[in-house]
Structure formats: C-alpha cells, structure tokens
C-alpha cells in the first residue's frame, strides 16, 4: 500500500513542480508589470525607501499568509489567523509589560499561544470532524474575545528603555544595515523572508510537506495508504498557528504595542494573498513562493495606488478585481493543462 503511494507520488511530482513553476512565473510576471506601471506613473514609486516600505508593509500579512498556505493546501481554511495574531500580540505584551518577563520569554509565550490556538483548530477539524470553516470561525471569535478580556480592552504598550534592546527593534531595527552598511532593511522584512524560506523547506523538503499535499489532493487515499491523517492535520494547523504568532510579534513590535481590537479582516487579506499566489482553495496545490509573490502583489498594488493618490474607496475595488483576475487566470491555465 505504502509503496503504491510512493510511486504514485514520484510520478506526479515533476508535473506538480512544473505546473507550479508556470503559475509562479505568471504571478511573478504580473508583479513585475505592476511595478513597471507604477514606476512609469509616478517618479516617487521606484525608490529604495519606497521599495523597503512596501516590503515592510507586506511583512505582517505576508507571514500570516505563509502560515495560512499550509492549511489551505490540505483543502482546509483558517479564518482565525487575524485574531489569533492579535491574541499572541496581547499575550506577548502582557507577559513582557505587566508580568515583567524578559523579551525572549514573552516571545515564547506568544509563540506558544499561537501554537495552542492552531492545535485547538487542528483537533477540532481532525478529531472532532468540525468543518475547517466553522472550527476556525469559532477559534477566531474565541481569540478575539480573549484578546479583549486579557488586555482589559486597552492597548498594551511595551517598555522602551533608553538603552539596550527594545521590543520595537525586533521589527524596525536593521541587523542587515550592521552587516552591509547603507542598506537599511528593517528586521521585519528579513524575518518575513526567513520565515518564507523555512516554510518553503517544510513544504517541499520534509515529510510534513509531502503529507500536506497528499492530504490536500486526496485525503481518503492518503488515509487508506496507512498515513495517520489526523496526526498530520493537527500538526499542520499547529504550524499555521506558529506562523500566525510570528506575525503577531511583528505587528506588536512595529506598533510598539499590542492593539487588542485589531486583527479582524487580516485573515481575508492573508487568504487573498495565498489565492493570488496560485494556491488552490480546494487543496493539493500551492507553494510558498507563490504566496510571497501574492502578498507582494497586494501591497505593491495598495502602495502604488496610494502614491498616485487614488481615493481609498477605489483602491479596495481594484484589489477585488485583481483577486478575480488572478484566480480566473489560474482556472484557465489549469483547464488547458488537463
């Protein structure tokens, strides 16, 4: 049984890589076109400071989207990432500011909170058989409520000592600048790309990734070939939770505060980035690189429209159309392939 799965996969894999590659090329092409258009439209767009600004504004939603990619590849969905992000930010803030814990311990609390929320979603989906949409909707609301309760409905501000390491340095300081002077790329951007590389390794080089795709393409077949699907699903939701926690830490350190009422709506932006990047909501197909590009397309678009002073109402309309276009192109391409 196991053997058939393996051969089945080794047959399928090159094709998968190939079609993914094409999709990414397409998405990357659109990104380049967008950058070109905006550069021509405004002299202020293609400048080092603005490119860094775009990357920085991608970091939070980008890391969220990276996490969501895992769950979406299983054919599931995680609606809780926005508010779990907020909850992890609040937990980090409470442990550092109110309990006086050192920063590393606060980060650990945040990561554990995210992992726990992901674990709960995973158990609800895998063991309790609650549909992912509903299970994560429940976790979304629980996390949102808890964030307000634990913070006492007020923002938690991080201490910013005059000397030494500040919490906001996690996002905004530039280690990169210390290595290569002159390139002031904020840590948040570096963390975003580091997380993307780690995510990519997990997805394409480990057994977690392989089972992730297998569950997404055919859960029943995967189960029948002796894979403990429940175990892997719970693990995958937990990984999503950990990524979400990293996004929580990034947003908290960028605002130097944990804002308990934020977070709703961020999950949809993350899902949009994943989908634009070519990951299929029906599961079994997708990639980290695609998500990175998807997230970049979203923020290049909003940044470019802002720089051109397009009224905000219209910015949202345009982003909506881009989602349509991206998904439709994906569907056409797949029809041609099959």
């Amino acid at each position: 049984m196991n053997k058939t799965l393996v051969t089945h996969k080794s047959n399928r894999y090159p094709a998968l890589i190939k079609s993914d590659f094409l999709q990414q090329l397409l998405a990357f092409g659109s990104l380049i076109v967008l950058v070109l258009v905006f550069s021509l439209a405004s002299d202020n767009f293609f400048q080092f400071s603005n490119i860094v600004g775009i990357l920085l504004s991608t970091a939070v939603v980008g890391v969220l989207a990276l996490g969501a990619t895992f769950v979406i590849i299983t054919g599931g969905i995680d609606l809780s990432v926005g508010t779990v992000m907020t909850l992890t930010a609040v937990m980090t803030g409470v442990s550092i500011t109110y309990w006086g814990w050192p920063i590393w311990a606060g980060l650990l609390v945040g990561i554990s909170t995210g992992a726990l929320c992901g674990f709960v979603s995973g158990v609800a989906v895998a063991k309790m058989k609650i549909p992912p949409f509903i299970a994560t909707l429940a976790v979304m609301m629980i996390a949102k409520g808890l964030a307000l309760v634990i913070s006492g409905t007020r923002p938690v501000y991080f201490p910013s000592p005059d000397k030494g390491f500040r919490f906001s340095d996690i996002s905004l300081d530039s280690l990169f600048n210390k290595i290569i002077p002159g390139f002031k790329i904020p840590n948040a951007v570096v963390i975003f790309f580091a997380v993307a590389i780690i995510g990519s390794i997990i997805l394409s080089r480990t057994i977690i990734g392989r089972y992730n795709f297998a569950i997404g393409s055919n859960e029943e077949a995967t189960r029948l070939s002796g894979v403990n699907v429940n175990y892997w699903k719970i693990l995958i939701y937990t990984i999503t939770g950990i990524f979400t926690a990293i996004a929580g830490i990034l947003i908290a350190s960028r605002l130097n505060s944990a804002q308990p009422a934020l977070g709703m709506g961020y999950e949809l932006e993350a899902i949009a980035a994943v989908v634009i990047g070519g990951t299929s909501l029906s599961g079994g197909k997708g990639s980290i690189l695609g998500t990175v590009i998807g997230a970049l397309i979203m923020s290049v678009l909003t940044n470019g429209l802002r720089i051109m002073s397009v009224p905000q109402e219209w910015q949202t309309v345009v982003v909506g159309f881009v989602i349509f276009l991206a998904v439709y192109m994906d569907i056409i391409r797949r029809k041609k392939a099959s």
């Binding site: 400071s49 804002q259 009422a261 905000q312």
Partner: protein, 339 residues
Amino acid sequence: MKKSHKGLSVATLLLAGIMTVTACGKNSNENTSPSQEASKAPAASKAAVSETMYIPIICKGFQHQFWQAVKIGAEKAAAEFGAEISFEGPETEEQVDKQLEMLQVALGKKPSAIGFAALDSKASIPLLQQAKDSNIPIIAFDSGVDSDIPVTTASTDNKKAAALAADKMAELIGGKGEIAMVVHDQTSRTGVDRRDGFKEQIESKYPDIKIVDLQYSGDPLKATDITKAILQAHPTLKGIFGSNEGAAIGVVNGVKEANMVGKITAIGFDSGKAQLDAVREGLLAGSITQNPIGIGYETVKAAVAAIKGEPVEKNVDTGFYWYDKNNIDDAEIKAVLYE
C-alpha cells in the same frame, strides 16, 4: 427511521444545550461584566425600587482609550445621581450594524433613558424613533445624529476643534506649503466633521497652503503605511494631520519609519499613551484633546435630567483644548488627557 429519530433527538439536545449555554452566558454577563460592577454597586440597594433609573450607554468601540475615559465620567455621574448604567460598544468603529443591534437590545430592556454615540449619523434613526414612541429619552454623545429625536447632544464641536488644528498647522509650517490628512473614517460624524473642519479652515483662511492628499484609516498599522506612501508621493510635504488616536499613531509611526522626524509637522487628535509620548518626544507637534470624562459625565447628567422631566439644552458643548510639549503637564490639560 430509527436513525432519523436519533438525529432529531441529538439535534434537540444540542439546541437545548446551546440555549442553556447562551442563557448562562447572558446571565454571567449581566452579573459580572466589569463595566457594570462599578455602577451597580451604588444602585444595588435600590434595585428593588421600581423607580431606579437604568441608563444603558452605547459607545463606539473599544479600540481607543477615549471610550474608557468617557466611561469613567459616566460612572462618576451615575454614582452622583444614583443611576444605574451599563456601558458597551462594538469592538471596532466600523461595525455600524453591531452597534444598532446593541441599541435594539438596550431598547428591549425598557430603560429609563439611553446614551448613544452613533457610528453612523443616519442609520440609527428608525430605532431612535422607536425609543421616542415608547417615551425613552435619547441622549446623543460624542457624535450627533441627523435627527431631532435626541433630547440633547453632549459632544465636542469637532468642526471647530479641527479648525483649531488647522490654525496650529498653518502657524507651525509658516503659512504656506503642502500638507496631507489621514482621517479615521468616511462615514461617522466625527470623521466627517474633523475632515471638513480642517479642510474648510485651510481652504478659506490659508490660500498658500495646499492639501495634496487625503486618505482614510483609523487602524494604526494601515495608517502607518498610508503615511509612508503619502510622504513618498509628496517629497515636499510639510505637515500631516491625523484625525483620531489610531490615525495619529499611524502618522507618528510613518514619519518615524520614513526618517522624516523634524521635517514633517505632525498634528494629532485625542490622547492616549502613544500620542502623549509622541508629543513629549517631539514626534508630534501637538494634538487636540476633547474632554472625554466631561462627555461621559454630561451624558448621564442630561439623561437624569430628561428622566425627571427637567429642561435640557439642545447641545452641550463639552469643549476641546490644544496641547503640545509646553502645556502637556498643566493641571487644566492633564485633567482631560488619558493614557
């Protein structure tokens, strides 16, 4: 057949379970919600008396510390006049629908009066009409409603307050140049009034100042990115006005992240720890503060007067102040600032 029966009974059980849980939830909410504890204590002894004044107060959200300060003022007045209040609001200031639901529930409790800070100045009118029909006086606070139903409106004159911000901006940038605005939303009374108050003042009094960009967000992270984009698009910009706590924090962060501190005159609105720190550090040239504690206090005071049938003025102006580095620690200003 047997199976469907089983399904049915399971469903019934589940429904019963859910109902019990929600009922419990409601009860425990009413009993232990922190917002009520404080106000219930003084009124508890009179709870049995039928004439206890119960005044639910519906604010705009928990996103900003402003509302906590309003609550403090409301509780103070409640204790003073022997009224029982509850204080609630939706999580964010975009949830117009949630707020209307809260108003609906409050109406159902047959209150003596209702304090209401409308997120949308028109959407609530049908419900307010209902309140009027059942003789429940409505006290509008913070933002007015486009209707005559509220017996009074306890609020800051946001247009005048924003005009003061415009005057300060003009003074600080030397009366000419390009400026931009980040406004917290397009639909609420405060958003509209502060935008128009600022804009009209600049346009009518300062012909050499040009507002080159106007974007909307009260989410500090989004406002940060917006500010950076504005700075990027307008390299000769001299100043930015952020119209509430979230927008102002965003402006401060954006200016800081873009390394434009000192080159941009940033002006905010309201207070909150982040804004106060920014003023002290010189990141924010100054800000307009309302008098949130006064708003809460006047709301409950007016409600009590309306319940007793005493005359109330149609508008209670609760005032506003400009604060900057120099006067932030003055007693008069300190009293209306909140962290």
